[in-house]
């Protein structure tokens, strides 16, 4: 299934893009997705310290992704 993946902050520099379509197997969880992403982009070595948002809401690692989800990689925020 296809997952639209958004990168922000330092992660967009590490993967050198803001936006990617990633194909992973059905019934993958966020944790599975992180493992996949780290394998594909070894520079994302700190991925376990990044938050993940699915469809604009923070999500836990055990959430199962579905086709068409928008997954955002959220490194530590620094607004204000």
């Amino acid at each position: 299934m296809k997952i639209q993946t958004l990168f922000f902050g330092i992660t967009s520099d590490l993967v050198e893009t803001n936006d990617l379509e990633i194909t992973i197997s059905e019934n993958s969880s966020i944790n599975d997705f992180k493992v996949f992403l780290k394998k594909k982009y070894p520079k994302l070595e700190n991925i376990n310290s990044y938050a993940i948002a699915v469809n604009e809401t923070y999500a836990e690692g055990n959430l199962i992704l579905k086709e068409g989800d928008v997954v955002a990689i959220i490194p530590p925020v620094s607004g204000g």
């Binding site: 922000f8 330092i10 923070y58 959220i74 530590p76 925020v77 620094s78 607004g79 204000g80």
Partner: protein
């Protein structure tokens, strides 16, 4: 009546707008927190800051903070406005205003809102120095 005003803009933030939004005859006080761009970080001179956002989600998270502040504190209204894009020293990345019958709630609401914003709202700043640039907080 709308009791929250949430905004992310690449235009200059407007303190008067945030004041006018929360101002009300029933209120005895208004507090404002104004974040400003500082010229140094840990002794190193900062030239400018670039704020990037995950805008639709950042708006939702700011709205959650405003709604929660209304639940937690006896305030009348709250405004949370944040800037995006390149800001120079002394410019304003964030304004929070809150109004209430009595002053204490306004202080508490502003403090709660800025503290929570810094933890949860997907906004990132990059500091620019004379010899390069760095994402703030990138390596916890």
């Amino acid at each position: 009546m709308k009791r929250t005003s949430i905004k992310i803009t690449s235009k200059k933030l407007d303190l008067q707008e945030c004041y006018n939004f929360v101002e009300d005859d029933s209120c005895g006080g208004i507090s404002a927190f104004i974040g400003t761009v500082r010229n140094d970080t840990q002794g190193k001179e900062v030239l400018q800051l670039d704020f990037s956002t995950y805008k639709p989600m950042a708006i939702k998270e700011m709205q959650k903070i405003a709604d929660l502040a209304l639940e937690k504190f006896p305030i009348h209204k709250i405004a949370i406005h944040h800037a995006e894009g390149m800001l120079q020293i002394g410019e304003i990345p964030v304004i929070i205003t809150a109004s209430s019958k009595h002053r204490k709630a306004t202080f508490e609401a502003c403090e709660f809102a800025i503290d929570t914003l810094k933890e949860t709202v997907p906004i990132w700043k990059k500091e620019y120095f004379s010899d390069g640039e760095v994402w703030v907080n990138a390596h916890p």
